[in-house]
């Protein structure tokens, strides 16, 4: 075996030691990382993960759909598409051609909170990726002809993702009902009329105001050497200028309700009924991360897998639902919806389903959670977390996601197992009682 394949730094040593004593009393494991900020404000995180001769670069811009204006939804995403359409140096579409010619892949994504770009290639081509990203951070050339056809592409993307899909159309409208005037109510891809109305000037303003080193985070993970990589980052990014525009506007608070808000949609094109209840909850991106950890476990116990309470009771025992579960990602910067959802079985009314779902919430609040059940939820979260570490893309993604929110990425990468392990059933009951109240919920039903 080649020596580069032997781990220079055994990040799991302590973890393994603990595993052999008590199940998952894991403490910490550390990535080999280095962080620094260039004078122009570019925040950079490097992680050495030499198990394969591959590297991924991700550039996270602190800009997303929440920063758009009503009537101009979809602009962040439209610009993401245009970031591949030429710079002062590169012809339209040449960006991806160069990456491909060098055996690499690239793509990008836009969400409410961020816009993210990545390139993955053989680690000996790292400099190329950095050069390309630095170039389009400041030298993008937005042209009418490319914009016209790319705008049509985005319209087709919207048809594929939303208009062709009954459940997606339902969720878009449900989201609007739940979030009201909050920026999270907007569809990231944009409303069709808004997308059709984008102009080149809109994009130029957007790019000029939001694309700059001090508004971005660069993450590099893979088979790299720190000193060399740091030099390359400086070489390609340090000449870029700090932005002139003001700081990002803080998000307003999520709406608080005294009674549930309901949204019912009938759709002839839908084939299955859907029930969805959403509750606004805090996330790992906010001040009290203890609550976020408790919510993560609450979701695992309530509806995380086929051993979870909702699945066992609603799907297996009472046969009220074809599928049922809960959802929580914990990664939105301004709070998000914790969800309970189900597809009712034949002849089952939504009312009956709702009762059964909330009975499970009551049970969490009012009856004991067994040690075994709590530990099972913890084990399954921690194992998934460790498997995610096998992917350099996933490591880079978590680091970028948290850093672009100015949160400490170590919380969800290195400290995650320890923090999950510490959560008590009292904390879980507390967040369930505090947030999963029906009078605070937004409830949506889709009727075929």
């Amino acid at each position: 075996m080649d020596s580069s394949f032997v781990k220079y730094f055994k990040k799991y040593d302590r973890l393994l030691l603990c595993l052999s004593i008590i199940f998952f009393s894991s403490n910490v494991f550390a990535l080999e990382s280095k962080s620094f900020t260039l004078e122009n404000g570019l925040q950079t995180v490097l992680v050495r993960e030499p198990k394969a001769p591959v590297v991924v670069t991700q550039v996270w811009y602190r800009i997303g759909a929440v920063d758009e204006l009503d009537g101009k939804t979809g602009l962040a995403h439209m610009l993401e598409h245009m970031m591949f359409q030429g710079t002062k140096k590169l012809a339209p579409s040449e960006f991806s051609k160069i990456v491909s010619r060098n055996g690499g892949n690239d793509n990008a994504s836009t969400a409410h909170d961020y816009t993210n770009y990545w390139i993955k290639l053989s680690s000996d081509r790292l400099e190329l990726a950095l050069e390309l990203e630095a170039d389009r951070m400041q030298n993008l050339r937005l042209q009418e002809s490319e914009f016209k056809s790319e705008n049509l592409v985005v319209q087709e993307e919207r048809r594929s993702r939303v208009e062709n899909r009954p459940t997606a159309r339902f969720f878009e409208k449900f989201r609007k009902t739940a979030y009201g005037d909050h920026p999270y109510s907007r569809p990231v891809i944009g409303l069709m009329d808004d997308v059709k109305g984008h102009t080149l000037a809109d994009l130029q303003n957007w790019y000029k105001s939001h694309y700059a080193p001090d508004k971005a985070v660069l993450v590099v993970v893979g088979d790299i050497e720190f000193e060399h990589t740091e030099k390359l980052v400086e070489k390609h990014f340090s000449a870029l200028k700090h932005s002139q525009s003001s700081k990002r506007k803080p998000l307003p608070a999520l709406p608080v309700r005294q009674e549930p808000i309901r949204f019912d949609m009938q759709d002839d094109r839908a084939t299955l009924p859907h029930y969805y209840a959403g509750f606004f909850v805090p996330t790992f991106m906010m001040d009290d991360v203890d609550e976020a950890f408790a919510l993560e476990l609450l979701s695992a116990i309530l509806g995380g897998d086929s051993s979870s309470r909702i699945y066992r009771k609603l799907v297996v025992e009472d046969k009220l639902a074809i599928s049922a579960g809960s959802g929580y990602s914990g990664l939105s910067m301004g709070g998000e919806m914790f969800s309970l959802s189900a597809v009712p079985g034949n002849g089952v009314e939504f009312e009956q389903l709702e009762k059964a779902l909330f009975a499970q919430v009551d049970k969490i609040i009012n009856q004991p959670i067994s040690e075994r059940e709590l530990q099972r939820a913890k084990n399954s979260l921690i194992t998934s977390h460790l498997f995610a570490q096998d992917s350099i893309d996933r490591i880079a993604w978590l680091i970028g996601r948290l850093s672009s929110n100015n949160s400490d990425w170590k919380l969800l990468v290195e400290e995650y197992p320890k923090r999950v392990q510490k959560v008590t059933s009292q904390q879980i009951k507390k967040v369930a009682a505090r947030y999963l109240q029906i009078n605070r919920a937004a409830i949506g039903t889709l009727h075929p």
């Binding site: 580069s4 595993l19 001769p53 892949n105 994504s109 062709n164 897998d305 194992t383 096998d390």
Partner: protein, 441 residues
């Protein structure tokens, strides 16, 4: 929202392991060892102790291509129920134990193979391994669990009818393969599923999980010695006799309608072109890899992407792919576009097919594609799941231990003439079917 459609890359991972590049350079290669387990089964060991994790892939001849003729969907249900109990544990206890130890265990039915996937922390490998063996040797198939599986699959078949892409894919498959096993719906139909019983599942499970065609690939934090011991101790209990299931026939007797439109009230139409492609052992395999990449392969500005997406903005994603199976698998081109652009898009696809079959590709174009194919190899092997999956497929289709090493050279050897030859053969209009699903313009 992303810039590129990437769903098909995930869906077709088995295909793309091979339509994508794989190089084992001298500078980087996790050590791979091959040995024979009980009953002639093949075992691959990929050493990688970077993380305390183990991933197992077990492939065996089976899958939807071996469904009983009048009951498509049996293989899919057997796979669905693979983790629904085993040994002394019923479904609930089995699932609880998997979850408690953080073990992931499941099965999936492909066209040629049933694949069992297991992943675990290396500390729990013994527990995970014995649960995998229990699921295989002593499955439960309890009626209540079976009913739940059927209910969920029926719901998913119903929901698939909302999606023009799924409707088009099913229809195209029928037209390409007719009565051949590849032409049957892999997940069954609403009527076939209702006729399946637990007895059908038991019979199929018993016929499929046999040693002679089994391939086990294990990657991660496990020594070769440990793997040999685990394999020899446990697989000796698996049935040694060859399966009596009829092998997939090589011949195709029927070809369906040239062109059909299925009405569905959606704003965007799914367009599919498709025909019979090549099998895994076809001498033109490498020419096909390169030709497909130029025409509509992922991760690059293919000709179809350039003409249909970049120049004209007619679609979010257009792609081509081929599945080199035990017998000739499908070759497919797919895209979605608004109703008004369907005819124009079909014309553009036809034009590109003809161009590929009648004109040589450009020298620079060919060189760029080869550089992409050979250069992006390590990207496909940078995780345990990818390593175990790749070696499992290599073993299943008997591609040899040097397969990855030879891959780049064979891609480099493909000439313009080879590409035209394979294009003339596969992109022949007389052999292609066209399906559209959407509104009538």
């Amino acid at each position: 929202m992303s810039r590129y459609l990437s769903l098909f890359i995930v869906v077709l991972s088995l295909v793309l392991f091979f339509s994508k590049p794989i190089i084992v350079t001298a500078a980087w290669s996790p050590e791979v060892s091959r040995f024979n387990g009980p009953g002639g089964m093949q075992v691959y060991h990929v050493a990688s102790d970077a993380n305390p994790l183990v991933v197992v892939k077990l492939l065996v001849r089976g899958g939807s291509g071996y469904d009983p003729e009048n009951k498509p969907g049996v293989a899919n249900l057997v796979a669905w129920m693979f983790n629904e109990g085993g040994g002394d544990l019923d479904s609930e206890a089995f699932q609880e134990k998997l979850s408690y130890y953080g073990i992931s265990l499941s099965a999936s039915a492909g066209s040629d193979a049933m694949t069992v996937s297991m992943s675990t922390l290396s500390t729990h490998l013994d527990v995970a391994w014995s649960m995998m063996m229990d699921a295989m040797l002593k499955p439960k198939f309890a009626q209540a669990d079976f009913d739940r599986a059927v209910a969920e699959e029926i719901a998913s078949l119903k929901q698939a009818k909302e999606k023009p892409g799924s409707v088009a894919a099913d229809a195209l498959n029928r037209e390409i393969f007719g009565n051949h096993p590849y032409g049957r719906p892999a997940k069954g139909s609403l009527s076939s599923i209702s006729s399946i019983t637990t007895a059908d599942l038991e019979k199929y499970h018993d016929e499929v999980f046999r040693l002679p065609t089994m391939v086990l690939a294990v990657a991660g934090d496990i020594t070769l010695k440990k793997l040999k011991k685990l394999t020899n101790d446990s697989f000796v209990q698996v049935n040694h006799l060859p399966s009596s299931l009829t092998p997939i026939p090589f011949a195709f007797t029927k070809t369906g309608k040239k062109s059909q439109h299925i009405e569905l009230d959606v704003p965007q139409t799914a367009i599919r072109f498709g025909g019979v492609g090549i099998n895994r052992h076809d001498p033109d395999y490498y020419a096909m890899v390169v030709m497909n990449q130029i025409l509509g392969g992922g991760g690059f500005s293919s000709r179809l992407t350039k003409e249909i997406r970049e120049k004209r903005g007619l679609t979010y994603g257009v792609y081509s792919y081929f599945s080199p199976l035990a017998a000739q698998g499908p070759f497919v081109i797919g895209m979605q576009t608004k109703t008004a652009s369907v005819e124009e898009s079909k014309k553009l696809i036809r034009h590109e097919l003809k161009r590929m079959a009648t004109q040589d590709v450009g020298s620079e174009e060919l060189e760029d594609i080869k550089r992409y194919l050979t250069g992006s190899f390590p990207l496909n092997l940078d995780g345990l799941g990818k390593l175990a999956g790749t070696w499992g497929v290599i073993g299943f289709y008997n591609r040899g231990l040097d397969y990855l090493e030879m891959w780049p050279n064979r891609v480099r050897e493909v000439s313009k003439k080879d590409i035209r030859r394979v294009a003339r053969r596969i992109l022949n209009f007389n052999r292609l079917h066209i399906v559209t699903v959407g509104r009538t313009p």
